[in-house]
Point group: C2
Chain length 569, copies 2
């Protein structure tokens, strides 16, 4: 098993790079492993930074998952922090390294090179972007600067309503700052479809976050008493600004070295994370990966895939040194499973979104909405989960899910993440057997219910109406809720026949026109659809009922003037 002593250099010591280094050592005691990072720390908890700023995590020490000493003592891995690799000579298999503390330069040879250079915060070239008071949050030093600035500030503007933007809105609000969030898109949380993001919007508003959606920032201006952020159509004064627009692969080094890079700037890699140069691997936020569902090339800055990629690269590198070391691991692509919590609301998703499908021109899909409790209603404390499931119309293959709620959200999204990974259909969700006790779910879990609704649809027991066409097509809108519920607020032009009266009052309906059914969350409308279908009516359900209607209105997808009485539920 003794090999010639090979040297593996890893550039970038967070997540993917650190995982790769540790895995290399576990698989090979005999190679030399050097981890190089231009920052002050390796293996720090990037995802914890918003909570460090917000004082939820109180000690910086906690963010250091592994120190250079631990790498040295436990793994016999040399760590060079504050060292920057400035160039790669692929012919000579060397890198040029600058010691950022003393400015000295050296050349280092490698047998294998791993690029884990990560992603960098996007800084658009706007007027005033370099003014003091404008921050990003990628590193521990970033977090110290932001934390210090927040202490003396009363107002903050966050630019970008994605994961970091939302987490920071909560954390800055917790420090008693008045927070304005500006987002260029018309919704927060761009990975979500807009009607699902509407729940997040409401939550932010309830927690006094001022939202400027659909607003592109144009410039920053220094004033005596802070900064002014100008955006198309308005301006807002603030003490500090956080740029959380997103990140882009930090692939300059790879590009300089002539490695192949994709359209979004991510380094191209094969299934074992090997780049276009067979002696160079790349892992983490800097690479381009395949979307597991859509098969499109994407860049996805997520810690989970980065860690797994690091492990996979380690095995692949050692296999090139010694084929007997093959571990038969390959990267399967990303599903985009992600979660964010803001003001007690959990937002989680996996697989593809409807808008991603539309962008790809894919139409062979169906969506359903449901709003089950996270556990049975008879046990105290049930919280609704707002859930959108997307599946392939031809065969029921699960394509994606988005869920928002105060409890039990990650559990259902994770179950569906596993289902998607395994190629499950909605018929599998329908028959899944999940944990049930009164505190933990229902005899029909929300996952079962999603599967049952979708499977009913694919078995043609339940035709679905398209919310987007609510006011654009000709149909009778029949609301089967109780008279009291109907009076409290209903869609314009809806007629009301409570489900319990439907059999007796069926003569009031015409079998000529298509009838769209709506109720509170979709269940009674489903019962009504079954009743009417069997009597020869052309009927469809508005999935998710008035609960979903409100999310479409709140997202601006349906005119808010269509509810009677105005402001009714």
């Amino acid at each position: 098993m003794q090999q010639s002593r090979k040297r593996i250099l890893i550039i970038g010591g967070v997540a993917g790079g650190a995982s790769c280094a540790a895995r290399l050592r576990r698989l090979c005691e005999h190679c030399e492993i050097v981890l190089i990072d231009k920052g002050e720390h390796v293996s720090f908890a990037n995802c914890g930074l918003p909570y460090f700023v917000g004082d939820v995590i109180k000690e910086e020490q906690k963010l250091l998952v592994a120190t250079p000493d631990l790498f040295q003592n436990r793994f016999n891995i040399e760590v060079l922090v504050q060292h920057e690799v400035t160039a790669i000579d692929r012919q000579a298999k060397t890198v040029s390294v600058t010691n950022l503390q003393d400015g000295s330069e050296t050349e280092m040879h490698y047998d294998a090179l791993v690029l884990s250079t990560g992603a960098k915060a996007i800084r658009p070239p706007l007027e005033g972007i370099d003014l003091p008071g404008i921050y990003v949050l990628r590193t521990i030093p970033d977090s110290h600067k932001l934390k210090a600035a927040a202490k003396n500030a009363k107002r903050a503007v966050i630019i970008g309503g994605g994961f970091i933007g939302l987490e920071m809105a909560e954390n800055l609000a917790a420090l008693n700052l008045q927070v304005t969030l500006i987002e260029m898109a018309k919704q927060v949380m761009p990975p979500l479809d807009p009607e699902m993001a509407a729940y997040v919007k409401s939550c932010l508003e309830e927690n006094n976050i001022a939202l400027r959606l659909g607003c592109a920032v144009e410039s920053f201006q220094q004033m005596d008493n802070g900064l002014v952020v100008h955006y198309a159509g308005g301006q807002v004064e603030t003490d500090i600004v956080l740029l959380a627009i997103g990140v882009t692969p930090a692939s300059e080094l790879a590009q300089q070295a002539g490695l192949e890079v994709g359209a979004r700037g991510g380094i191209k890699v094969n299934k074992t994370m090997q780049t276009s140069d067979p002696s160079i691997w790349a892992v983490g936020d800097v690479v381009e990966v395949e979307d597991f569902v859509s098969k499109l090339k994407v860049t996805v800055p997520l810690a989970g895939p980065a860690n797994r990629q690091g492990r996979i690269a380690a095995g692949a590198i050692l296999e090139t040194f010694n084929p007997a070391l093959c571990r038969k691991l390959s990267f399967r692509g990303v599903q985009g499973t992600a979660v964010c919590q803001v003001f007690g609301l959990t937002i989680a998703l996996t697989g593809t979104s409807e808008k991603a499908l539309q962008r790809s021109g894919i139409t062979n899909y169906q969506t359903i909405y449901l709003h089950p409790g996270h556990h049975v209603s008879y046990y105290p404390g049930a919280q609704p989960i707002h859930l959108k499931l997307i599946y392939r119309r031809t065969d029921g293959r699960v394509l994606g899910v988005q869920a928002v709620g105060k409890a039990g959200v990650t559990r259902r999204v994770d179950v569906i993440a596993m289902a998607i990974q395994m190629g499950a259909t909605v018929f599998d969700l329908e028959e899944s057997e999940l944990c049930y006790a009164p505190q933990f779910g229902g005899a029909k879990d929300p996952v079962n219910m999603a599967g049952m609704i979708a499977a009913n649809n694919l078995r043609h027991d339940l035709e679905l109406a398209d919310w987007h066409q609510l006011h654009d097509t000709s149909h009778v809108l029949l609301d089967v809720r109780s008279e009291g519920e109907f009076a409290g607020g209903h869609i314009d032009n809806a007629v009301n026949i409570p489900l319990e009266q439907l059999r007796k009052r069926i003569d009031e309906l015409s079998s000529e026109e298509e009838i769209w059914l709506v109720c509170g969350v979709g269940q009674r409308a489903y019962y009504a659809v079954r009743l009417l279908m069997q009597r020869g009516f052309k009927v469809k359900v508005l999935s998710g009922g008035m609960q979903t209607y409100r999310s479409f209105v709140n997202a601006g997808l349906i005119d808010s003037q269509t509810i009677t009485p105005a402001g009714g539920q």
Copy 2:
């Protein structure tokens, strides 16, 4: 689509029966559906009864998921409560029904009959079993009786340490009763393997539940001041007794009618829940089903499968009336996914247990233990999840999981339940992409970690030692924790070389003898195994480390005298 008006009788109106009735109506407006129950209620929340007794659920009304009126008005289903079916005439297709309120008897014809007669509490024929003060808990009237008795009681004995026994221990303790739990097995929660049940045992003891494990109850005796429960080796005085020994299928009616019944008393059914009589179906606790993993025939009293079986039977019945109504649904068997919470501890499991495999004589399996936090340690409030994963040795197919912890337990067990349903291997768990944010998990989720450990094992990067053989085989026991941890408590005869010193002190080890490695939870031992394996040592890891050792000691599987210093951790 018009059919001749068929009559479907359903005997038993909870879970499976109620689901079947509602589904029948959704699929068929034209048939006559009659739901008959000998009790006072249909469709009540059986699983909520312990919490109703414990005043967590305060209103009885909440337990009534659907009333006879709702069945009538919403579904046009006739409900006969307090009516008992006393006989089935399969030739005539009639049942004899007794009205329990007035004693009158009628015959009712059926085109299809559904038996959803459930299960009944086991009452062993012990001396004194019928004394006042001895209760069971299956129905709402049962819960009223127990609740009233508990109000005037100071002491309770619960016989049986399964789901209901544990839930009732918590709920009676919450009512300030002093609770003794007597269980015939040497462990609580018989579906768990004993070393996993040991965590539950500790939790019960910490919450002042007196445990009598391995104690068979022999008789009950009335005293002036309560009851005495006699068991082999002792006795305990009490005010009330709850029998929670388990349930057995209530299949007498089916047996009288000559339907085929399995060895455990469950009615035999095919994949569409049809019995040996093609006009009779059976669903829920009264049927025998196939274990999805072991393929053995079992009876499993769980609400989730009962509900799904009811749906499936409904479609199958209608298909016999009209083949065009085929919904292509069939029951896939049960995985035994279950959960129980006691004093804040969640216990969840799915798939097979090690003892079930041993009972079946199956040896082609491997187990691992891990104790990850339910989220990253750097975010406040991380709680350990004690997890045991069982997989097939030949191909890595996941066979079962057991998990115990204060948070995040159902989520991981549900993900693995879906994995088992889809035939996943540990290599799939290794590569799964689950929700991660600091509050919700880790970049490597506990599911990933379980998969990685098992996959490492199957790739022969990590050989596993057998805890059961700890003191029965010849090996060097090497503890790689720090000197301080070692001094605080270690296994007898273990030698200590902290991981960080292992490379330098390797000459202290002999390559002649097998070395078993132990650490805190298994991670450092894994690092040490890799280091030593590559240097030619014969090494194995004691999976789960000292944490697992303590669970084996606590379960009585390893002598408690083997730790030095005594009482050390």
